[in-house]
C-alpha cells in the first residue's frame, strides 16, 4: 500500500544530456494516491511505457526521484520495490503448472510452504483460476495467461501497486470487457494502486478514475474522464480523446469574441490579455456544435458527408480550408449541402500555443 510521488523525474535513453527536450520522458512531478486507479494514455512513443518502467524499476531514471510513501526508492532494484507488473504479452513459466506459476514469486522470497499454499488458493479463487491450478500454464488461453501474470503480482501480500502495460493487446474483444471488469472489481476489493498504460481511450476512460494523458514525453493533462472531455488542457487532449476529436481552428480572439472568416462567435469568458505572438486557436467538441440551415447570423459551412454512429450523427463539414465535425439533429436536412454552425458558447475553449487559456469571468 503506497502513495507514489514522482519528483522532477526524467529519462533519456541516450545518456544524461543537459537538453531535456531530447528526453524520452521530460521532467515531471506528480503524486499517485494510494488506492487510485490511474490510466496513462497516449499514442505509441509518447513515453508512457518509459514512465511505467521507471516506477517498476526496470530502468533507472536519468534524473529525479521516485518516492513510495515518502521513502526514496529511485535506486532500489525491481525486486525490492513492492510492485507487480503485467506486460503486453502474457509472461508465464512454460514448464510450471498454474499453481506453481502463482507460487513462484513467494518461493523465490523464501516464504513458508503452508503460507504459499494459502495465498495461492486465495488468489486463484479471486481470479477464477481454481479449476486450472494443476494444469500446465502453457495450455491456457491468452486471457487466462494474463490472469496468471496478474496473479503472480497479487499473490505477494506486500504489493503496493500493480502496473499494467497494455495488458489487453492480445485478448479477444469480447474477453477484453470481462477482463477489464474483473480488474475493476479487484481494484475495489483489494484497495491497490493500479496504473494502467494504454493507447486505447475507451480502455483508459472505463478503467481509471484519473487519466493521465501523455504526448511527446510530457504529461499534458491529468484528470477525471469528464474533465478530459469537457475541458481539455491541451489541444492534443481534445484531439486524442473523443470520437470524433475536438474541432480546433485558428481564430482572432479579443475580449469575449472569437473571429473566424470574418464571422463572430461569442465566448462565455473574457480573453483580454492573451500572450502576444502566440498561436491562438479555439477548440470545441463536435458534441457542442449544431448544424442548422444556413442563415446570415451563423458561420457557414459546406457538408462533405454525414457519419451515423448509431446513437448520434456527425457531419463532416468544411469552413474555408478547415475541416470540422458537428452534431446533426434529427430534424435537419439540407438540399445543397450548405449549412450554418451554432456554437454552444459555454464549451468553446481558447488555446494559446496549444495550451488552454482560462480567461476572466
Amino acid at each position: 500500500m503506497a502513495r507514489i510521488d514522482l519528483v522532477d523525474l526524467a529519462h533519456s535513453y541516450h545518456g544524461n544530456s543537459t537538453d531535456t527536450e531530447s528526453y524520452a520522458l521530460k521532467p515531471i512531478s506528480m503524486t499517485w494516491r494510494q488506492g487510485g486507479a490511474y490510466a496513462l494514455l497516449g499514442p505509441s512513443g509518447c513515453g508512457k511505457t518509459t514512465l511505467l518502467n521507471l516506477i517498476s524499476g526496470i530502468i533507472t531514471p536519468s534524473r529525479g526521484k521516485i518516492l513510495f510513501d515518502g521513502k526514496d526508492v529511485t535506486l532500489l532494484s525491481t525486486q525490492k520495490r513492492n510492485i507487480a507488473q503485467v506486460f503486453q504479452f502474457p509472461v508465464i513459466y512454460d514448464t510450471m503448472t498454474v499453481g506453481q506459476n502463482l507460487a513462484f514469486p513467494l518461493k523465490n522470497r523464501g516464504v513458508q510452504r503452508r503460507e504459499i499454499d494459502a495465498r495461492v488458493s486465495e488468489i486463484a479463487h479471486l481470479l477464477d483460476l481454481t479449476p486450472d491450478l494443476h494444469r500446465k500454464a502453457t495450455r491456457l488461453t491468452p486471457d487466462a495467461k494474463q490472469k496468471i501474470s496478474l496473479g503472480r503480482g497479487l499473490v505477494r501480500s506486500d504489493v503496493a501497486a500493480v502496473l499494467f502495460d497494455e495488458p489487453l493487446t492480445v485478448i479477444d474483444p469480447e474477453l477484453k470487457w470481462q477482463l477489464r471488469s474483473k480488474l475493476k472489481k479487484l481494484h475495489r476489493e483489494l484497495d491497490l494502486t493500479m496504473i494502467y498504460v494504454t493507447h486505447d481511450q475507451t480502455e483508459a476512460l472505463t478503467f481509471a478514475d484519473t487519466v493521465v494523458v501523455m504526448h511527446d514525453g510530457r504529461v499534458v493533462q491529468s484528470g477525471s474522464p469528464a474533465e478530459l472531455f469537457e475541458k481539455p488542457a491541451h489541444t492534443f487532449v481534445g484531439y486524442f480523446i473523443g470520437s470524433p476529436g475536438m474541432n480546433i481552428m485558428s481564430a482572432e480572439v479579443r475580449g469575449r469574441e472569437a473571429r473566424i472568416d470574418g464571422h463572430v462567435i461569442s465566448l462565455k469568458r473574457n480573453y483580454d490579455g492573451l500572450p502576444t505572438g502566440a498561436k491562438i486557436e479555439i477548440g470545441v467538441r463536435p458534441e457542442f456544435v449544431d448544424i442548422a440551415p444556413p442563415s446570415p447570423g451563423l458561420l457557414s459551412a459546406q457538408i462533405e458527408r454525414i457519419d451515423d454512429l448509431g446513437r448520434m450523427r456527425f457531419a463532416r463539414v468544411r469552413v474555408g480550408d478547415v475541416k470540422f465535425a458537428a452534431r446533426v439533429r434529427e430534424s435537419f436536412s439540407s438540399l445543397d449541402g450548405r449549412c450554418g454552425l451554432i456554437f454552444d458558447a459555454a464549451h468553446v475553449h481558447v488555446y494559446a500555443d496549444s495550451r488552454l487559456v482560462e480567461g476572466a469571468p
Binding site: N53, S56, I58, S77, T78, Q79, I83, A84, Q85, F87, Q88, F89, V91, Y93, D94, T95, M96, F104, P105, N108, R109, T138, R139, T141, P142, S149, R152, G153
Partner: protein, 300 residues
C-alpha cells in the same frame, strides 16, 4: 469433367527419376548386390545369401567382433562429446553479450572453427599434439605430463574428443544463442519482479525456451559424431591399436584395406540402417513436440 489421358506426362517425371536412380538407387543396389556375394578378385562373384549379415551380427566372429567393438566405441564417443558440448555450448551462449559490436566479434570467433575443412582440422590437431614439434604436445611433456597420442590410448581419446569439442561446440553455442535471443525482454523483467534468482531464471525461462534448439543441436551433433571419419583418421588413423577406430574407419579398412567388398557392403547397410532409425526417432520426437505446441496454439 473427363480425365484426359496423356502419357507424355511421364516424360516430365523422367529427369527426376534419372537423377534419383543414378544418385541413390543404383549405388545402393550395387551395395546390396555386393553384400549378398563373395569375391576372390578377378571379377568372379559367388552367391553368399545373408551369410555376411549373420557373421556381422554375431560378435563371436571376427567381422562381428570388429563391428560391435567399433559401434560401442562410436556410441561412447558420441555420448562423451554430447555431454561436453551441450552444457558448454549453453554456458558460452549465456555468457555472450546481447548487444553492441561485441556480438559480431563473438559470432565471428565462434564461427571460425566451423569454417575449417574436416581434414584441415585433423591436420591442425595432429601437428598441435605431437610431442616433438607440436605446441600442445611439447608443452604438456615439458611440464612433466607424459602425453603421446600415438602410443597411449587414453591420450588418443582425449585428443580426438578435445578436437571435436573445439570444432563443434560453436554450433551448439550459436543455436543456443539464437534460442536465447528469441526470448522477449518481458520475461526477464517479469522474473526480476518475481524476485527470481539467476538460477531460477535459467531453469524457469531460458532452458524451457531453448529446448527446441537444444533438440536440434543434439540431433545434429549425434549424427555428425556417429558418422565421424576424417578428423580421427588424420590424427590417430584409428590407433593406437584399434582404440580410436570408429565404425566408418573400420568400414574403410575392410572395404579398401582388405578389399572384402561383401563384408563391407553388409556393414555399410547395417550402419546406414542404424543412422536412418536414429534419425527417424529424433524426427518423430521433434515433430511430436512441435505438434503438441501447435495444438496448444490452436486452443488459444
Amino acid at each position: 469433367m473427363e480425365k484426359t489421358v496423356n502419357q507424355k506426362a511421364w516424360f516430365l517425371v523422367l529427369p527426376v527419376f534419372l537423377v534419383v536412380a543414378f544418385s541413390a538407387i543404383i549405388p545402393l543396389m550395387t551395395v546390396v548386390n555386393y553384400s549378398l556375394q563373395d569375391t576372390f578378385g578377378n571379377n568372379q562373384f559367388f552367391w553368399n545369401g545373408v551369410g555376411w549379415f549373420k557373421e556381422l551380427l554375431d560378435p563371436s566372429t571376427d567381422l562381428g567382433g570388429r563391428f560391435f567393438a567399433s559401434l560401442w566405441r562410436n556410441l561412447f564417443f558420441s555420448f562423451v562429446i554430447l555431454a561436453i558440448e551441450v552444457p558448454l555450448g549453453i554456458v558460452i551462449a549465456l555468457s555472450m553479450p546481447r548487444q553492441g559490436w561485441q556480438v559480431a566479434a563473438c559470432l565471428v570467433i565462434l564461427a571460425l572453427p566451423l569454417l575449417i575443412p574436416w581434414n584441415v582440422v585433423g591436420t591442425i590437431w595432429q601437428i598441435f599434439g605431437r610431442p616433438d614439434i607440436g605446441l600442445l604436445g611439447y608443452a604438456l611433456n615439458s611440464i612433466g605430463i607424459n602425453y603421446n597420442y600415438v602410443s597411449n590410448e587414453f591420450d588418443a581419446w582425449v585428443t580426438v574428443i578435445v578436437m571435436d569439442v573445439w570444432h563443434w561446440t560453436s554450433l551448439v553455442a550459436l543455436l543456443c544463442y539464437a534460442g536465447l535471443k528469441s526470448i522477449p525482454d518481458a520475461y526477464y523483467q517479469a522474473a526480476q519482479i518475481d524476485g527470481a534468482s539467476r538460477w531460477a531464471v535459467f531453469t524457469a525461462i531460458q532452458l524451457p525456451k531453448m529446448n527446441r534448439v537444444l533438440l536440434i543441436a543434439v540431433l545434429l551433433r549425434f549424427m555428425d559424431s556417429f558418422m565421424i571419419y576424417t578428423e580421427p583418421f588424420v590424427v590417430t588413423g584409428g590407433g593406437p591399436g584399434n582404440s580410436t577406430t570408429f565404425i566408418s574407419i573400420e568400414l574403410v579398412k575392410i572395404a579398401l584395406g582388405q578389399f572384402d567388398l561383401g563384408k563391407a557392403a553388409a556393414m555399410s547397410l547395417v550402419y546406414n540402417l542404424i543412422i536412418l532409425i536414429v534419425c527417424w526417432v529424433f524426427y518423430t520426437v521433434m515433430t511430436n513436440a512441435g505438434a503438441g505446441r501447435r495444438v496448444k496454439e490452436g486452443a488459444k
